[in-house]
Symmetry: C2
Subunit: 141 residues, 2 copies
């Protein structure tokens, strides 16, 4: 290790923490936490996931997913419906309340993103997105 | 908000979560958590911080910092010394044990970083670093 540690990991973490501070503030009035909101945004991309699939997509451990789902149910932000194709499997989706939460929070979250890339031209934004996607693919492959 | 939400925030979060999964695994045998290790890496960059300064630099809330410092003390990874310049102020530094922990974990953390940027040429790595730093500056300014 260099004296200062792995600097790109640190840079990613610092950006994420700065994003998180803004999202914490944005979400505070809703009673939804950032990990809960992250799971809801995953569900908004692909509905009808099993808990295990949601855990994998939201990078939550299977143990933590139980608590997270319980909190999402308490907030009435999700639905659980039996999978028509597999009798014993339960699929998780967004409730109307969950959709409303995402719609309420969305403009504020967009504003955080706009603030993050203030001064980036469209090519730079695309380059950042592409590099982040490559990083993620490298890490999960 | 677009149907899929703020995609760059999501991309940052996904990279951070993937990094975190690797760091969790790396740190598990040490008993140190990722937030604790992050605080120690902050101290390795700049020693002799007050709790408030460390909280600010590690993006931890002042309330959470109390628990974090208690955990770091239980692990014997930090020292607390009175600030010679201000009688009532206590400065936090790395203990020898803390330095050893960072040295032990360092090569594994470097390997996570290398894996993350696998296939990036040096210019791309520099571009990623520069863009992440711009993002952070935008968010904290």
């Amino acid at each position: 290790m260099t004296a200062t540690g792995p600097t790109l990991l640190y840079a990613v973490k610092q950006v994420e923490l700065a994003v998180r501070a803004h999202l914490d503030e944005l979400l505070r009035p809703t009673g939804c936490t950032v990990p809960q909101w992250t799971a809801l945004t995953v569900l908004s991309r692909r509905e009808g996931l099993t808990g295990a699939e949601l855990a994998r997509n939201a990078f939550v451990s299977p143990q933590a997913m139980g608590d997270l789902l319980a909190a999402l149910e308490r907030g009435r932000w999700i639905t659980r419906t039996p999978d028509p194709a597999h009798g014993r499997r339960v699929l998780i989706g967004l409730s109307d309340e969950g959709r409303r939460l995402l719609a309420t929070v969305g403009p504020g979250a967009d504003a955080v993103e706009q603030r993050m890339v203030d001064g980036f031209d469209p090519d730079e934004q695309a380059a950042l997105r592409a590099m982040l996607n490559r990083c993620r693919t490298n890490l999960v492959s």
